[in-house]
Amino acid sequence: MDKNNIFYDPSLKRRHLKSKLFKYFTLFSLVVSLVFLAIFLLDMVLKGSSAVQQTYIQVEVSYNQESIDSYRDAVAKKYLNLLSRAALREIPNQIQKNPSLMGTKQVLWMLADDQVDMYMKEYYYKIDEKDMKTLEELVKNGMVDKKFNTIFFTHGDSKSPEYSGILSAFIGTILTLAVTMLVAFPIGVATAVYLEEFSKQNWWSEFLEININNLAAIPSILFGLLGLAIYINVLGLPRSSALVGGLTLALMTLPIIVVSSRAALRSVPASIRQAGYALGLTKVQVVKDHVIPLAFPGIMTGNIIGLAHAMGETAPLIIVGMIAFIPDSPTSVMEAATVMPAQLFTWAGMPERAYIERTAAGILVLLSLLISLNSLAVYLRKKFEVKW
């Protein structure tokens, strides 16, 4: 550094050092959060990946009157403990659905018991000596194999972990969120339009504004209590149903939608409104044809983010009973249902290892849905963004 340089600054070195330190500090924070995220994802993928496959055993199944009377007679007694109870219980149903099976014997790949699955996946297992011998024999003969776990995606919850899947919770989530959106979207957007375009600026509108912002920050479990009190106790709507869950989540998402829609409406430049009014357009025409279309991408983004928020919500739904054991997918919003995070919550509390891997797999499914929703929000915003 030349001291004759007229721009010479004696504090330069220290300044550079400071700004470098600051830069590295912020970078370090970023790295820490990324590492945590990576560890979480890796852990879930490692735990969940084994749920992609499920063990099956090739056995002879006899379809006859005895099997109908008791599924225990459908296969040789020595295999009974190695096979999935829930799958065996389906045998009489299969005959009922397909009477031509009656009186036949078929060699089939039957779903194995979860302990057998654990053994095949080299986790901790509990199988007694006699069954172990039979199993080792079967393995040696190539009668035991791991196949893609379709059951996880095509079945609901079950008391047999190997027979349980995410489907009923997934359907429950869809139904619940459909109710949420059908209620929260129109009410939230209309409220925002009223507050932004029609209400006069006075103490009342300020009071409303403060309270809506406060509502957005209320712990979600309180909305569950409110839902329980209003929808179930006062209105008498069916407990555990997607209807009640959806309405409860609607209460929770409404303030988010109102706040984000207002921000979107406010970001439409005043000059557009003036242009409209100066042409002799009515307020309805200006708002409907010029302001709302311009605010729409922002409104959609807010709604989708509210939806994603609602999708991950568990606590208020547990309060309104959506944590029930739901083996069959609900077919209407009035039926008892559960949602994906509540299902994960239930599984996570189960002692069986097989439920743990399902929890992880379920988290991955939920995360991919959330990521898709958020990408959709980004896509919509980009697509409909108005270039000025």
Binding site: S271, A275, G280, K387
Partner: protein
Amino acid sequence: MAKNKVKIAVKDLNLWYGDKHALHGLNIELYKNKITALIGPSGCGKSTFLRCLNRMNDLITSVRVEGEVVIDGKNIYDKDVDEVSVRKRIGMVFQQPNPFPKSIYENVAYAPLKHGIVKKGSGCDELVEQSLRSAGIWNEVKDILKEPGTGLSGGQQQRLCIARTIAVKPDVILMDEPTSALDPISTEKIEALMLELKKEYTIITVTHNMQQAARIADMTAFFHLGDLIEYDETEKIFINPTQKKTEDYITGRFG
């Protein structure tokens, strides 16, 4: 001035923004098929006055207006007058060109379609062409009518806004510093256009540019702190003003 026909007669017009008295008892007669320029230092109430003429001030909640603005014999502040229908007849062009972020065609066609002046497929294309021609921009945009109006240059956008205003078939066009955001060449085009348009319309324009007022305005009104100081033929105002304040302003001693 006997041959001038009065289009707008303003009588004792007072305006308040809340407690702030912004226009002090204005009396002025604005003439048909003339360009009237409103000049004066910033904040003297030119825009406020202009917005009184098409009741755009109604959109500002704190505004209170007293007095009369009589257009073609009817006071537009009468109880039986709807401000929306006033604006159909008194168009307005703003300082910043503000086309809708829609196609050039839709920019012009939207309001006439809503007002039922034309219908889709019957007269609409013609009206769009005619309005764009009148605004002197037809040749530049006739091949890109489907493209967004916001993609045009500033000067073109302003002429598009003028086309959009004439499409509604007003009698009066109010312009609030229509060229102050534009380059000199675009400004020249707009000025030429205004001279053309005054044959059919009455034009009231706010301008910060003294030469512009001198170039295009028939009449000039000088405002100061909410008062109308002097109003006369442009030549008179610029060459031989009666008020000291007008002279000071025009010679650049303040403003």
